[in-house]
């Protein structure tokens, strides 16, 4: 956003591109990503179907696992890093995520509160009689 943060000016990477590695190293990156993603997926499916863990924690655990897996995909498949050559890619991603959270969070919050000016249901019912 300022001249100073534009340090890597001479050096920029396309989203999805990675620093020049050998083919072997690149394949290894995908293999690690696949292994981690499979592990996280398996954990998600296991937790959803099990009664070994405290039940109310399941939704939270599932969401945490999903976010972790998205992170794995971003890092190992899309090669998004925090490096200076990725500044623009990460900023765009951050803006997109901000909007996603505002839209989903805002919608859920707003829609849950839309009946605030209605009398509670148990007061309406007696009135109907």
């Amino acid at each position: 956003m300022s001249d100073q943060t534009h340090m890597p000016a001479g050096h920029d990477l396309a989203p999805g591109d990675e620093e020049q590695h050998s083919v072997g190293a690149r394949i290894l990156g995908y293999v690690v990503g696949l292994a981690l993603a499979l592990l996280l997926t398996a954990t998600s499916f296991f937790i959803a179907g099990t009664d070994l863990v405290w039940q109310p924690s399941i939704p939270v655990a599932l969401i945490v696992l999903a976010i972790a897996q998205m992170g794995v995909h971003l890092v190992f498949f899309l090669h998004i890093t925090t490096g200076p050559d990725n500044t623009n890619n990460v900023l765009a991603l951050a803006f997109g995520l901000l909007v996603v959270f505002l839209v989903v969070g805002g919608t859920v919050w707003i829609m849950a509160h839309l009946n605030a000016n209605m009398p509670p249901m148990d007061q309406i019912m007696p009135m109907r009689r």
Binding site: D17, A48, L62, M70, L78, V100
Partner: protein
């Protein structure tokens, strides 16, 4: 002209503080293309977020129809998930093969990716057809409306991806690994990986959270 009177006061950069690194000029075509596509993907994800929001709001509105836990088949979802995950991996292999201009591995990677994508689509289609035949189509309740739209929207993206994949293979077959075709291949890989990320959200939020409820 007024400039003669004020020009003397013009200065290079009145605000510049410390070291200023000069911008080197326009980026390369590869970066420009991929960045544009990256921005498109983010906008696509925002579109999905609306369907997710609608699902979150309408998930409880079953209108006397079935709940999620009554219609979801975790085994199918697991197979679908593994298909997409593996296809993401093979798509990555195909992009590496394209970068080193190895036709054999490129075709193989793309063929496997395509196969896995088609298997995913077939399973999803059969799930939908089964639900509709049981009378649980999208018109049954707001919950099913939101479910069919969200999952169907992802399915449509996968279908478009398969079509694009075939076009991509045809281009490489006819024209080889030209720079512009490699740029498109990079965009395709981004698209395919992004679909997998969205699927992670779909199976977690819709299927796993839904079958628990």
């Amino acid at each position: 002209m007024a400039m003669t009177t004020t020009a003397g006061r013009a200065h290079a950069d009145p605000h510049h503080i410390g070291l200023v690194i000069e911008h080197p000029g326009p980026a390369s075509k590869r970066i420009v293309t991929a960045y544009g596509f990256w921005v498109f993907l983010l906008s696509d994800i925002v579109m999905f977020s609306c369907f997710f929001a609608a699902y979150a709001v309408l998930a409880g509105q079953t209108a006397g129809g079935p709940k999620g836990s009554e219609i979801f088949e975790p085994r199918n979802v697991a197979i679908e998930t593994v298909c997409l995950l593996l296809s993401s991996f093979t798509c990555g292999m195909a992009s590496i093969a394209a970068d080193v201009r190895n036709r054999f591995w490129f075709y193989l990677g793309m063929a496997v990716t395509c196969g896995l994508g088609v298997v995913f689509l077939i399973i999803e289609f059969r799930e939908f057809a089964d639900l509709v035949s049981r009378g649980y189509g999208p018109s049954r309740s707001a919950f099913l409306t939101a479910f069919f739209s969200l999952v169907g929207c992802h399915g449509l993206h996968v279908s478009a991806g398969v079509l694009w994949l075939l076009t991509m293979v045809a281009q490489v077959f006819a024209k080889g690994f030209r720079a512009d075709i490699l740029r498109r291949m990079m965009c395709f890989a981004l698209f395919w990986h992004a679909l997998d990320i969205i699927w992670v959200a779909v199976f977690s939020v819709v299927y796993l959270l839904g079958s628990g409820a």
